[in-house]
Amino acid sequence: MIEFQNVSKSYKKGSKAVDGLNMTVNNGEIFGFLGPNGAGKSTTIRMLTGILNIDEGKILCDGHDITAEPMAAKRSFGYVPDSPDQFLSMKGIEYLNFVADIYDVADRKEKIRTLTQKFEIFDALNNQIESYSHGMRQKIVICGALLHDPDNWILDEPMTGLDPRSAYDLKEMMRQHADSGKCVFFSTHVLDVAEKICDRVGIIHNGKLLFVGTLQEMRDTFKENTSLEELFLEITEDAQTNI
């Protein structure tokens, strides 16, 4: 479970990148975090994962405050960043072994084989990540994030660069993970994906959370019989008008 309690972050005086964010991502659900460019999605995820300091409020990951108990909080999530260009000079297997050492993963052989075969990159593990295509880099990063079987998955634009087969497999894995009582928090620009797999969504714009709830609740509140894409555009346009 992930809880945001009145979280705010400013980069410069008078301008908040995230303003009073209150949101809970429950166990057993896939939560889609949506918003236009510059809305505050990445800032939120970076605060959640400990990359950015929080100015106000608290973020709890399975009850552990990311500021007060960083080690415990970080053990409870697996994070896939938006850029997969990580550790390019390492071989795939070296990267996964490194992550396994960090998280003290037991049965690493089995887990590495399972994950990498699922994403069809097992045969490329002996090559440097620099030689991988964008999609393969994305897959190796996903494998690294899931290797220690974290309860909370934090995925920032995880589908970018994935081929249809891998994107499907990842969506299936997300569904299975949520169904097993754990939580998936992911941000995306691809509203079709969010519409298909998310149990609940949160829409952020100009640092403020405009809506959080199920798709049905969104339709009930704003407009019936419309797609997530149309609802999203309407919500964010209204917010823009009100500024």
């Binding site: 080690m71 053990r75 990580q86 000079s89 072994n97 002996n126 440097q128 030689s131």
Partner: protein
């Protein structure tokens, strides 16, 4: 055409120099820090220059000082251009973007060569302008000396830059046929450095007899030293004798070299550039070895191995950070040994025999110790790993904040490669001193007792990189080249050399006392810094986001 060349030069110089995070707020603070650092190095360089000039004046060879400075600048330019030209010429991110544009090959080559020259001028400012300024003031040179000096310093780097660039272009023109361009990058630099060192080695072995004879004549040494490089002779002649003919000839030769290079190297350059852009990075078809692939290690050992892999697998880091630590001490030791050996040929004694006699005198041992330490500290000036330990990761640095490993531990793990490299330099220099100059074991042991804690302390330079890491870069070259932070080990190394000089030659500290004092100070500093980083922990990561 000239306007395009100027625009390209500006672009390539900006690419070669790091652009920074663009935060205006800290820009002036950074500039001030760099000015202070440059100022400090200027003072240190000035002190050395004054001391060297004093020695030359005692030997009745003051003009040899000028020749020596010009020669040192030319040799340094040759070596540093070999190292930097690969990236400026071939592995700049803008190559793929510029190739499709309607830019004449001549314009591209001119822009690249100009960028190399600008980079070398930055080094010449410290290593050329400062010593010549000291010389001019202390020997009461007339006003036109300064004008001639500026002209000489402007044209002097041109020929060595052209030679280095030509060497690299020739070797890189073979990349089209080679699959693994990263291996080419590293091997090309090593080959070029070996060729340049070999030339220097041959030259020194031939000239050392002349050098001994020249010491008899006032300023005779200046003439001999000038023979190492014709442009040095012309530059020295311009400054020492105010020879207009020499100055004009130097300018003519340099301009000719520049123009010939631009006119005739275009095809060579493009062959290498296209070849390096489109050759593969050497993908292996080998699968992992199931028996050994899934090794588990401690977090510390895994982390440190990751760091070391980055330094060795990224050619820019290998060439700019690792190789200088290995090559420069060997090069300096061998050149000095060969020169000394040749000088002693006439006496029928070997270097080892002469040194043994020297060490046999009790009052010489402390001096040998001081010199050993000074050489050790001087050699460690080339260890830059900690200066870029955070910056080299770029965007990856944020990974440090997301994993459940205490941040202060990660800082220590990242400092370990620098500590190991500095230790390696000290051991290498120690071995060279023991083998070539038969320095007594007890002197070497005492010097290592000082150097080992210093090597650990050296690793803490990482704290400066943490203060203002440069994480927004497109090219690894931006991290290492013209990163003013790499001047810090130089400054600290020179500071230590000065401290040894003061404590040894002025305070006449004995070997045990100096060992205890220096080692003790370093150990105390290590403990204080360790306690600081442990307490600060995540606060150290405030600038990583």
């Amino acid at each position: 055409m000239l306007r395009r060349i100027f625009s390209l030069t500006r672009l390539f110089v900006r690419s070669a120099f790091f652009s920074g995070s663009g935060q205006k707020k800290r820009k002036w603070t950074r500039i001030l820090l760099y000015v202070i650092l440059y100022g400090y190095l200027t003072v240190v360089m000035g002190i050395f220059a004054k001391y060297l000039l004093g020695v030359m004046q005692d030997l009745r060879q003051p003009q040899a000082f000028v020749t020596l400075i010009l020669l040192a600048n030319v040799m340094l330019t040759l070596f540093t251009t070999i190292i930097s030209s690969l990236n400026v010429l071939y592995f700049s991110e803008d190559n793929a973007a510029l190739l499709p544009m309607p830019i004449r090959p001549m314009e591209m080559v001119a822009g690249r060569l100009n960028a190399l020259l600008v980079i070398e001028y930055m080094e010449e400012l410290l290593l050329g302008a400062v010593p010549l300024g000291v010389y001019a003031v202390l020997t009461a040179q007339p006003w036109y000396f300064y004008i001639v000096a500026i002209l000489v310093l402007l044209v002097l780097p041109i020929v060595p830059v052209m030679i280095a660039a030509l060497l690299i272009m020739t070797l890189m023109s073979t990349t089209g046929k080679i699959r693994n361009k990263k291996a080419v990058q590293a091997v090309t630099t090593v080959i070029s450095l070996v060729l340049a060192m070999g030339a220097g080695f041959l030259s020194s072995s031939q000239q050392s007899e002349d050098m001994i004879i020249s010491l008899v004549r006032p300023n005779g040494l200046a003439t001999v030293l000038g023979k190492y490089m014709p442009t040095v002779q012309l530059g020295a002649s311009s400054l020492n004798r105010f020879s207009i003919a020499s100055l004009l000839l130097l300018i003519l030769v340099s301009v000719l070299a520049y123009l010939l290079m631009i006119l005739f190297s275009q095809k060579l350059y493009y062959k290498g550039m296209v070849g390096s852009l489109f050759s593969s990075s050497g993908v292996s078809k080998k699968k992992i070895n199931e028996q050994t692939a899934y090794r588990s290690s401690s977090v510390a050992s895994s982390y440190i191995r990751k760091e070391i892999r980055t330094y060795f697998r990224k050619p820019i880091y290998l060439v700019q950070l690792v190789l200088p630590c290995i090559i420069m001490p060997i090069f300096m030791a061998v050149i000095f040994y060969v020169s000394l050996s040749n000088a002693m040929k006439g006496d029928g004694m070997s270097v080892a025999d002469t040194m043994r006699i020297l060490y046999g005198e009790n009052d010489m041992l402390p001096i040998v110790f001081y010199v050993c330490l000074m050489v050790q500290f001087f050699s460690s000036m080339y260890s830059f790993l900690s200066c870029v330990a955070i910056s080299k990761d770029g965007h990856d640095a944020a990974f440090m904040k997301t994993i459940p490993v205490p941040f202060y531990k990660q800082v220590i793990y990242k400092a370990v490669p620098d500590i190991l490299m500095t230790l390696f330099i000290y051991v290498l220099v120690g071995v060279l001193m023991a083998v070539l100059f038969v320095v007594p074991a007890k002197v070497l042991l005492c010097s290592m007792a000082v150097c080992i804690p210093y090597a650990v302390l050296h690793g803490f330079i990482i704290l400066l990189d943490l203060k203002n890491p440069k994480l927004q870069w497109n090219n690894e070259m931006e991290v290492v080249k013209n990163n003013m932070r790499t001047l810090i080990p130089v400054g600290i190394g020179l500071g230590n050399v000065l401290a040894v000089g003061l404590c040894g030659f002025w305070l006449n500290m004995s070997i045990p006392v100096m060992t205890a004092v220096f080692a003790g100070v370093y150990i105390v500093l290590i403990i204080l810094l360790f306690l600081y980083i442990r307490k600060a922990d995540l606060k150290l990561a405030d600038h990583i986001s």
